[in-house]
Structures are given as structure tokens and as C-alpha cells.
């Protein structure tokens, strides 16, 4: 029976406002047995990559009737990740299998409901991709764009947080589909990536715009058919003024609203005057399409038609900083934490 120390990132206490690194604690005192106990139906994994996603912030607050189950202070943060099976009590998994799915922010995790894990079949791409383009954000972009946005060739498409985990894919999907695509991001570096690496038709730094409505009118003189909304708040309000008749808004994220409540959205009347459809969605309702998505995306990755930008923080100890950075836009591309590369 091999017992080892299991470094963990735990939530100290519930969070108000913007999360800080000090809301989390790197704990080195926990021990874990690297063999499952006799008769266990769980799977024991070594975590390789952890995914920093904005929705995790939601679980750091205890709200009455909240949609996301709140974390328990003192326990490790839970999230999606890529891991290697080192012991298995479940028929579907063998030692050495690579998997992605729900795990914890720690070196080793016991997964009590391994049915939720997906076995990784293709290993000729970076394994970290299973936290991004080949994982939840990829499926979010795929379902969000093709199923929710009802795209048509020639549509004017606007993507906010466009260099982020989901946005960079939505933009590339929309281009492949024959749309005109503009993205926004919060630094010059990101805007350059959008225009020069990710193939957006145009891009702008929203932090440099005094008036978002004016900016949108400059980039979309004919209006917007599709808005893929990752931010909500003021940006959504400005977009509403610029939607075209029968426009679609995919409400994917509202990162502007997670830490502080803004002013409220005032221009919803445009939903009526422009016959706009605004639709929220959960990627979990589309996971049945994952095999179909892989079939589409794997060749596009391998032939270089689609690229994916990642921002990899090395070491579990850097997970709190990487996570906190999401809310100031410090990350360039999908934020990943590498716990171990083997």
C-alpha cells in the first residue's frame, strides 16, 4: 500500500466579488493511498491538466437556489481536467487509460462516479486540448454556433471574449461557414492574434473604446446577425442596439456579471423590434454530439485548418493565480494548469 502526499488547492472560504489568489490555499498535508480499497467501484487518477473556467467562480459563492452546487470550504476546487488512470474499480477503465472529465484540483483524485469520465482515444494531439478544443469549450463552441446561432452564409457575426477558450473557436467555425466575423478582446496582443492567427475578418480592443455602440457601428455598419455572447452586461446592451432583423444571440457566458452586478441591461426592447432570438444553453445538453464533433474537428486540427491557442501555467501551485487571471483577462487563449506532463 503506497501512501503519498497529495498536494491540493482548496477553497478557504466563500468568495465575494472578484476572486483573489488568497481565497485559495495550496495544501500539502493530505495523504492518499495509490491503490483503491478492495471492492471499490471508483477510479483513481493522476491529474495531468486542469481547466480554468469562469463558471468555477459561481461555485465559490453560496447562493440560495443557485444553479451551480457551491463548493465546500476546506475541500479542493473541482473542475474539468485530463488525467491518467492509475487504479480502477470500474469495468470501463484500465490502468494507463487517459481520460477527461470532472476531477479535483490536486495531484491525485478518486473519482467516485467514473461514468462521467470520457476515455481519450486520440493521443496524437496535445493532451491539454481535452480541456479546450477537444473538451467542454470545444463542444460549447460547436453546439453554440451550429445549434443555437442558426448560421447562414454571409451572416455578420460578432464574438466577445473572442480569443478565449470558446470564442476563438466560434470565430473560426463562423469563418469556415462563410460568415463575416469580428471579435473583441481586451489587449492589443489578443486583437493581433484574432486578426493574424485566428483568421477573424476584423477585431478590436473593447477597453480602448469610449462607446461600445459607436465601436460596433464602425465594425458592423449593416448590423449584426449573430452575437455569440461570452460577457453579458454593457457589451450585450450595446449589441442589442445593433442587431439586425431576425438576429440570434447565443447566451453562452456573462463573465462581466460573475463578480459584481452591473447596471442592468436597458436595451432589451430591441429584441422585439428586431425579432431577435436570445437563447441560453448548457453544453451538457449537447454531449451526445461529442463523437460527431470529434469526427469534424480532428481532421481540421491535423491539417492545420483550425488552430487553438492555450495559456499553460505549469505546476499546481500556480492554479490559483491562473484562475484569478481569467477575470482580468490575463490569459491569452484557453487557460490550462499543467499538474504533470506524464
Amino acid at each position: 500500500m503506497e501512501e503519498v502526499r497529495n498536494k491540493q488547492v482548496v477553497l478557504k472560504d466563500y468568495v465575494n466579488g472578484f476572486p483573489k489568489e488568497s481565497d485559495m490555499l495550496l495544501k500539502s498535508s493530505a495523504m492518499i493511498n495509490l491503490k483503491l480499497s478492495e471492492g471499490s467501484k471508483a477510479v483513481l487518477v493522476k491529474n495531468l491538466y486542469l481547466s480554468c473556467d469562469p463558471y468555477i467562480r459561481e461555485r465559490m459563492t453560496k447562493t440560495e437556489g443557485s444553479y451551480f452546487e457551491p463548493f465546500t470550504p476546506g475541500s479542493p476546487i473541482a473542475g474539468l481536467g485530463v488525467a491518467k488512470v492509475i487504479d480502477s474499480g470500474h469495468l470501463n477503465f484500465e490502468i494507463g487509460d487517459l481520460v477527461w472529465g470532472q476531477t479535483n484540483w490536486e495531484e491525485y483524485s478518486i473519482i467516485d462516479n467514473p461514468e462521467t469520465l470520457i476515455k481519450i482515444q486520440h493521443t496524437d494531439v496535445p493532451l491539454s486540448y481535452y480541456t479546450g478544443i477537444l473538451g467542454m469549450p470545444g463542444m460549447t463552441a460547436y453546439a453554440g454556433f451550429y445549434e443555437i446561432c442558426s448560421p447562414k452564409k454571409g451572416d455578420y457575426v460578432y464574438v466577445s471574449s473572442a480569443s478565449g477558450a470558446v470564442g476563438q473557436l466560434v470565430g473560426q467555425f463562423a469563418k469556415l461557414f462563410g460568415c463575416y466575423v469580428v471579435g473583441s478582446a481586451g489587449t492589443t496582443e489578443k486583437v493581433d492574434l484574432l486578426k493574424n492567427k485566428l483568421g477573424f475578418d476584423d477585431a478590436f480592443n473593447y477597453k480602448e473604446e469610449k462607446c461600445l455602440d459607436t465601436a460596433l457601428k464602425r465594425y458592423f455598419p449593416n448590423g449584426i446577425d449573430i452575437y455569440f455572447d461570452n460577457v453579458g452586461g454593457k457589451m450585450l446592451d450595446a449589441v442589442l442596439l445593433n442587431m439586425r432583423l431576425n438576429g440570434r444571440i447565443a447566451a453562452c457566458g456573462m463573465v462581466s456579471q460573475y463578480n459584481e452586478q452591473g447596471d442592468g441591461v436597458r436595451n432589451l426592447f430591441n429584441i422585439i423590434t428586431k425579432s431577435v432570438r436570445m437563447q441560453g444553453f448548457h453544453v451538457t445538453q449537447y454531449y451526445h454530439m461529442y463523437p460527431k464533433y470529434l469526427e469534424m474537428i480532428m481532421p481540421l486540427i491535423k491539417e492545420g485548418t483550425i488552430c487553438y491557442i492555450e495559456d499553460i501555467a505549469k505546476g499546481l501551485e500556480n492554479a490559483p493565480g491562473a484562475f484569478v487571471g481569467l477575470f482580468s483577462g490575463r490569459n491569452v487563449g484557453k487557460q490550462v494548469v499543467e499538474v504533470s506532463c506524464e
Copy 2:
């Protein structure tokens, strides 16, 4: 050539905030020839019933890029109505025909684009119904409920402005469909009508509720599947907190927003967490379904399965007061102005 005085209700000047009776003027000085000039392709009508609709308020303001074409001060208010053809230069219409469609707030109108008029075939119902259940509000309720709300038997349906021109029909359609329906209105009298005459399962006076969220939780302990929104603003915000997974919001009107800008809607994040679809629509996109609607609704009216409450102000001189009353909820049911009963 018979020339007569043509009483008109004209807009004095553009309106700010809530419209007042004094924003309109009854003008008795205009003259009109009751014969069209030789070669005219227009239709001359005598107006019988005029429809008071909240959207008319939008045209009383001159806003840059506004969806509704602003009125011209000094000209009569334009709106929907029921009229009798007294002269016709158009092949489709003969003297004596009854029609409904776009006309003006005056005794006689020359309709320059008579293609937009619909000839009335069924005259064994009150003619005023063509401003309501058999006109634009009827089609709005029909398209809005059946096409936009995607109803399912057993759905929990909430209707605001539920005794209004559209709401009273949406509630009755939803009941016929097998939904559980609650409506809100602004007086005890209206709440009684909803429960005792219009067949709503329950109803409440929103003006008597301190907290709309609490009220909705009382009437919908299991949440709301469908919200038919006629008001927007604070009510929409409270509803968002109470939507069920995969809920639908038909954005039909936002009467709370027409005269003054409120606080903004703060709870849109629920659109994501509950996978809600919010859809604005224009009845004009559904007029091709009008014959199908008539086929459904006429028997329901005649056998008394569906009823329709109207509030008829007699005399063109009472049109300004009737219109203004819409925004304080003075009308009980569809607000109509009877210009002439023959």
C-alpha cells in the same frame, strides 16, 4: 362632389414620457371630398372602429433610427381600424365593403395603399372584433403562443397584462392547450375577470405585491415554463428568477419601457443557467397565417369557447383619453374607439 368636414385627431408635437390627452388635438377644420378624384387607385373609407395600441406611443417620439416611423406633428394619428369603403379606385374593393387595416384617426380616410387592407368576410360577429380578437392582437396572441412559445401540455404559463388585448387570448389559448395558466393585471376587477370569466387557473394584482419575485414563487412553486411578456422591465426581471429549465419567453411588448426608461434588467444570467429561449417577434411576419387563424377562431367565438373583452370609447373625441388610459391600465380589455357604428 360632396365635401364634408372631416374631424381628425392630430398629434400636436412629439411626446416625452407618458402621453397626455393634451398631446393630441381634435381638429374639426379639415374638409374631405367624398368622391375620389378621377383615376385614383386609392380607396376612400369611413372609419367605424379605431384600435388603441401601445405601439402607437413609439411613433409619437422622433428617435434616431427608430424601428417605428415617427408621426408628423399636425397630421392625424395613424393606426389600425375597421372601416367601410365609400369609394374605390382599386379593383379589389367595392363601395360597401368592410375592411380592416391601417387607417387614420379621423372620420374619413383616403387609403393610398389599399393592398394592405383586409376585406372582412364574417359579419356575424361584432365588427369591433377586427381591431382585437379578429385583428392584429388576435394574430399576435396566436403566433406568439403557438409559434414562439413552443407550448407543451402541462406547461406552467404566466401572462402579464393578462386582461389586455393580447393577454386575454394567450391565456385562453394556453388553457385550451392543456397548460396551467396564471395571469397578472393591475386592478381587482381585472383579476376577477381573469379568474371568473377568462378561465385562468389563477391571477393576481401586481400592484398589490411588494415583491414580484415572492408573488411569482407563490403562484409558480415549480417555476415557469412559458412567460408571455407584455410589459418587460421589473416584471421580466422577476420572471427570469423563476424560469424553469428550457423555458421560453415570448417578448411581445414592453409597455413598462415605452414612456420611461427603468432600471435595466439584472437577472439575464438566468437565461444561461436555465437554458431559456427569449424571442421577440412581429405579428407582421405571421399574417400569412391569418386564414388558418380565422378557421380556428371563428367556431370558438361562435360556440362561446373563447370570449373577448372590449372597452369601447364612443366618439372620435374620446380617442386621446382612451389611448392615454392604456398606459395607466384604465382600460378593461381591448381598448377600441367607436367612430361610427354604421
